[in-house]
């Protein structure tokens, strides 16, 4: 258009402006709040004075990451019905947290899972083991955030390589955290939630008003058993709901019947790959025998990972202590479920409309694939309404920035805290001064930010939502059994807890890593060359599709494994149950009005100092 725009090389000014404002406001709020509250206790005390509404918004704001904002829509578009399990279980996982863990853990007064691990078993040693998983889960969680950053920047600045976006966003947030900004202040996180909700609902309603509503868009896809006069997909005039326009699907897109029905492309991938390796005449029998049973296993394993994983996410549990009392904590949890539930209805709508009207994304790979459907879809209405499309696209980009920035900085703060406080402050240099610890915190932030950015550069071929699911699977096999069992079973010993948590968690971690290496080896881009050595894995999995599924979704065996080990080893070492276990259990379970926590602290004052 004019010289100024030509300089930016095809950058849409509206999209750029909205994104820039979001980043600037987030950074400014971070710095401002960092000035007013310097210490962790400031944060917690300030937190205790906020209302249920603000606190629930803050928890939701920290929870909704790039996976929720961009990944779910992308995955619904690429895989259809099966991907709906992700938003549902992300939201419903909080129920498990509410029913079994949130209340007792809050009464115990442990701020983090490592705090709880140490307090419950009187073992500083166990604290160190527990800290490792903050880092393991954290890194798996930061990779998809980095991919979100790379995809968004590559969309705003067409022509910018994926890795530049990752490095840029990673560096900005890391420096911000290292300099003391973005401390996960309640207000910042709460505002982030409302930005995200606004950024997903406004474009979705405008889009639906223009191109047709959610039900009609789903209805334009032919379900199994229906007559498919519209199978060509050019004009869905004869499909269940008329008047919805569709563009022809590309070759790489899944067919309507597979997409709209359960046990579709997501859960049958392994069996289909195995069938493709068989001689042609055996394929049909192999598929009918194995396809559906194996997808059922996949579905259940996914559900277990997500529901149990939510209850074991270290950066979420912390926020439950910012409530004034138990009643408020429970009400907060309910409001969190309502707030995130309302949000999670909408991302799949983008996926569905994207399938009907932007099928060209199916052919894209990496940053150009379905993961960017949320960002690009609003531009559809540009043809009719001109600049409105760009403005809406700018709004979704702003929401995406809010999503990966808030989650990445929250994770970075908790991981840096673990490294600087627990590893450096307690293990390496217990006698270090507070100035030395500040330096350690900054160095740790840069180190962790650097590792996260490096990992982020490798994961372009992997789906955002899938990677977050893996972080949940690791949490489900490590922290969830630890919390659940230690809260409800008094016979747990430190050795039992440690054995179960380490074995379950490391098995899930290894399985997730193997899956990713196998997928990366398949990539046609540069990553395929780097990871070419792992290609034989895929050959092995083609012969054993069930193993592939159990590797891709490990929760179905790793969670029971962790719990069984905890029981067996605890029974074997039952003489090592903490001596004051009855008091500990009372503090966990008795109503706060009885004031047992105070009593417990007095008993323990001579014990391990904080």
């Amino acid at each position: 258009m004019n010289l100024h725009l030509a300089f930016f090389g095809g950058v849409d000014p509206w999209i750029f402006t909205f994104s820039f404002i979001t980043v600037a406001v987030t950074l400014w709020m971070g710095f401002r709040s960092a000035k007013t509250s310097k210490t962790a206790s400031d944060f917690f005390v300030a937190g205790r004075s906020v209302s249920v509404g603000w606190n629930a918004s803050a928890i939701s704001g920290e929870y909704l990451s790039a996976a929720s904002f961009m990944g779910i829509a992308g995955m619904v578009m690429s895989s259809g019905y099966d991907a709906l399990w992700y938003p549902v279980c992300y939201a419903c996982g909080y129920l498990f947290l509410l029913l079994f863990i949130a209340g007792p853990l809050r009464r115990f007064g442990a701020y983090t899972i490592p705090d709880f691990a140490e307090g419950r078993f009187d073992s500083p040693m166990f604290r160190k083991i527990a800290v490792c998983f903050v880092l393991f889960i954290g890194f798996f969680y930061t990779m998809p955030q980095m991919k979100g950053a790379g995809v968004t920047l590559a969309y705003i600045f067409p022509g910018l390589p994926y890795w530049v976006g990752v490095v840029l966003v990673g560096a900005v947030i890391t420096l911000n955290v290292a300099l003391g900004g973005m401390k996960g202040i309640t207000l910042v996180q709460a505002v982030q939630y409302w930005i995200k909700l606004f950024a997903i609902t406004v474009p979705v309603f405008v889009l639906m008003a223009v191109v047709g509503f959610y039900n009609g868009q789903v209805g334009a896809n032919v379900a199994p058993g229906e007559t498919a006069t519209a199978a060509s997909g050019i004009q869905a005039s004869a499909s269940p709901s008329t008047s919805i326009e569709r563009k022809p699907l590309v070759a790489k897109a899944p067919a309507d019947t597979a997409w709209i029905a359960p046990f579709g492309p997501l859960t049958t991938k392994a069996v289909n790959a195995a069938a493709a390796a068989l001689p042609v005449e055996q394929r049909a029998t192999f598929l009918t025998e194995h396809q559906k049973p194996y997808s059922l296993v996949y579905t259940y394993s996914l559900i277990i990972a997500l529901v149990c994983g939510t209850a074991g996410l270290p950066h979420i549990l912390v926020r439950f202590y910012t409530n004034p009392d138990g009643v408020a904590a429970k009400k907060t949890t309910m409001w969190v479920m309502i707030l995130i539930g309302v949000f999670y209805v909408f991302p799949p709508v983008f996926g569905v409309i994207g399938r009907n009207l932007m099928p060209e994304l199916y052919s894209g790979v990496g940053a150009k694939g379905t993961d960017k459907v949320v960002l690009e879809l609003p531009t559809l209405i540009s043809a009719k309404y001109g600049v409105v499309g760009s403005i809406l696209s700018g709004i979704t980009c702003a929401g995406a920035f809010a999503a990966f920035m808030s989650t990445f900085s929250g994770l970075l703060v908790s991981m840096t805290g673990a490294l600087a406080h627990d590893v450096y402050g307690r293990m390496l240099r217990p006698k270090s001064s507070s100035a030395e610890r500040m330096v350690a915190f900054k160095l740790a932030a840069i180190l962790i930010g650097g590792v996260a950015v490096t990992l982020g550069c490798f994961v372009e071929p992997l789906e955002i939502n899938f990677m977050v699911g893996q972080a949940f699977a690791i949490a489900a096999a490590s922290y969830f059994p630890l919390l659940f069992m230690s809260v409800w079973w008094r016979g747990m010993t430190m050795k039992g807890a440690a054995t179960g948590m380490l074995t379950g968690g490391l098995c899930a971690l290894g399985a997730a890593a193997l899956t990713n290496l196998g997928t990366l080896a398949l990539d046609k881009g540069p990553m395929g060359k780097i990871f070419a050595n792992f290609a034989p894995l895929n050959g092995y999995w083609a012969e054993h599709p069930l193993l592939r599924i159990l590797c891709e979704q490990p929760a179905i065996w790793s969670v029971p494994l962790a719990i069984t080990l905890m029981i067996v080893v605890s029974k074997a070492t039952s003489d090592q149950v903490p001596a004051d276990i009855r008091m500990k259990m009372l503090v966990l379970h008795a109503p706060e009005k009885l004031g047992l926590k105070q009593e417990y602290i007095q008993d323990h004052q001579a014990g391990a100092g904080h």
Binding site: Y81, L95, I260, A261, K330, T333
Partner: protein, 100 residues
């Protein structure tokens, strides 16, 4: 039980009190979790054994899509609302029992 203060502590720290406390709370949690799990784990089974029924069109959605994509959220809100009401009442009752 006429002078509440000294006896109160004995009751609180007694084994039967802790047992009944944990049992009652766990019973409530398990009842709520069971309701939730029946729906959550039952849906894949319905999809598996009654695919045609679950593919019935309801206002454009398939039945299965409507349940999972829309109706599941309010269902969970209701469970959590009931749980919170009951658990607060339970805690109140526990405190009252000790004060008596």
């Amino acid at each position: 039980m006429s002078s509440p203060t000294p006896n109160h502590d004995d009751v609180v720290h007694s084994e039967p009190f802790l047992r009944s406390l944990m049992r009652r709370q766990l019973a409530l949690s398990i009842a709520c979790a069971a309701t939730f799990l029946v729906a959550l784990l039952g849906l894949p089974l319905l999809n598996y054994f009654a695919p045609d029924f679950m593919a019935t069109r309801v206002a454009g959605f398939t039945l299965s899509w409507l349940i999972l994509g829309v109706l599941f959220f309010p269902f969970v809100w209701i469970i959590s609302y009931v749980f919170i009401k009951r658990s607060l009442r339970l805690e109140e009752a526990e405190v009252q029992e000790l004060r008596r």
